[in-house]
Amino acid sequence: MSFLTSLFGRKSSAPVARDRLQILLAHERAGEGQSELIAKLQEEILEVIKRHITVDQDKVQIKMDRGAGVSMLEIDIEVPESAKPAAKAG
């Protein structure tokens, strides 16, 4: 079809539409299971940290950023200055 497009003298917009859709839908499809996964990660990571340091639940931030090629899981833990090793049980 390329000679036709040049015949009409305008760059076709359909390929742009296709690329935008592919990226958008990859995100939307991933989005469904994603919030559950993040909630679970948050909970379990917090559990691990608590074994060693006393931190607030809301001081642990977990974000997921899905790109076309790489996805990033960002974990941000704010440790209080007075952080002390949690009292060992037993």
Partner: protein, 271 residues
């Protein structure tokens, strides 16, 4: 065994009601016992497109609520005797459709017909979910345009998760019906290509219905296009689609009104 088919899309105005009427009529024209059910409560267009608007006495909600018997609400088509319509009500509250009531009506329709075709309302809310809930198969109506494809993707996700079959861990057969397709605009790269839509949505192609004034003429006359002009391009595409629904394997072509350079080029470019 009866088959329940939902015609759905997410987006409005893409051709669900037109396709419900045409597919239903085409199946009935081949001798199958067919009922088309209007789930678009509040808008009620299927009766109009089928030319049955003056014969509506009772509707789906009356039957769901037990105010009328199914037989009282079914309207037999005057042109094709194996075709019936169960209309939707125009005025009533959308919440009047209860899941239990719908289940009972669908069960009853399954006993009477070979095909039960449900015309879904637009959207992804309750009405659309009720229309798809009992489906064994789905026709996802899509226009080659970004917002329609995106909505179809969400609907496909719902078909795989919120239907009765999905909940039982069973598959629901999904088919893509590309409608309002303009071959000339596609050739100029102004519309998403069929291959791209198929790759993105990855469900099998049931047919490509060209944009055609025959569809408008058919709805003016109150006839499904397969009855008003059986040899027109959209009618031929619907007849082909129905053969695929019945399990035949056919190459998908885009029937065109006139033969020209574009048609020739186009035919070669479609998978």
């Amino acid at each position: 065994m009866a088959k329940v088919l939902v015609v759905t899309s997410g987006k409005g105005g893409v051709g669900k009601t037109t396709s419900t009427a045409a597919l239903g009529a085409a199946l009935a024209q081949t001798g199958k016992n067919v009922v088309v059910v209007d789930f678009d409560v509040g808008l009620r267009n299927l009766d109009l497109v089928m030319g049955a608007e003056r014969r509506v006495v009772f509707d789906l909600i009356n039957v769901v609520q037990g105010d009328a018997k199914l037989a009282q609400a079914l309207i037999r088509d005057k042109r094709v005797e194996t075709l019936s319509i169960l209309p939707a009500s125009q005025t009533r509250d959308k919440d009047a459709l209860t899941p239990e009531g719908v289940a009972r009506v669908i069960e009853e329709l399954r006993e009477k017909f070979d095909w039960v075709i449900c015309d879904s309302p637009a959207g992804i809310e309750r009405g659309a979910q009720l229309a798809m809930y009992h489906a064994d198969q789905a026709v996802v109506v899509t226009n080659p345009e970004v917002s329609s494809v995106r909505d179809s993707d969400r609907i496909i996700g719902m078909l795989d998760s919120t239907t009765e079959r999905a909940k039982k861990g069973e598959k629901i057969d999904k088919h893509l019906l590309l409608t309002r397709y303009d071959p000339a605009r596609a050739a100029r790269g102004e519309m998403l290509r069929t291959e791209d839509v198929l790759e993105i949505l990855s469900i099998p192609l049931l047919g490509i219905i060209p944009e055609s004034e025959e569809v408008l003429r058919a709805s003016n006359l109150g006839m499904p296009v397969t009855l008003s002009n059986p040899t027109s391009a959209p009618a031929r595409a619907y007849f082909e689609a129905v053969r695929r629904l019945e399990g035949e394997t056919l190459d998908v072509s885009v029937p065109t009104e006139r033969k020209g350079l574009f048609d020739w080029l186009f035919k070669r470019s479609v998978a």
